[in-house]
Symmetry: C2
Subunit: 87 residues, 2 copies
Amino acid sequence: MYIICVYDVQEKRVQKVHKLLKQYLHWKQNSVFEGELTNALFHQLTTDLQKITDTTTDSIIFYILPSEKNLKRFLIGVDKNSTSFIL
Amino acid sequence: MYIICVYDVQEKRVQKVHKLLKQYLHWKQNSVFEGELTNALFHQLTTDLQKITDTTTDSIIFYILPSEKNLKRFLIGVDKNSTSFIL
């Protein structure tokens, strides 16, 4: 499945959340990651995130698509990570 | 079509961009908006955004889906705008 993840977490946890997401997905912009994940990896990621976030103040949204196939992108301005797909 | 919009713009333009996006889409979190738009409104929005952003430093990504039908969401933590679908 294809994942777009956006997060809004307290400043002291930003680095930790960013670092964890980077292990699973590609960084796109500010607090946005995306990428293809299996169900198992998605479950692992969300479990790990729940351990390091404060669910009373932080907010992490996952948009889940069956695949990237029907997803189009339109960009205004700079591509903050044009190398995101060079692994 | 269904739109998820994420933006990463210089601080002095955040308010302006937020205000404009709010006229077209529903605020979800920090710098994330989403909603259904016609082609014409999407064109109008992107034209308006191009006028108020600096495309050499700012970055606004639109994820475009044919519809909301195949889109699922998974939230960790708080729903920053639980009333976003009450229009």
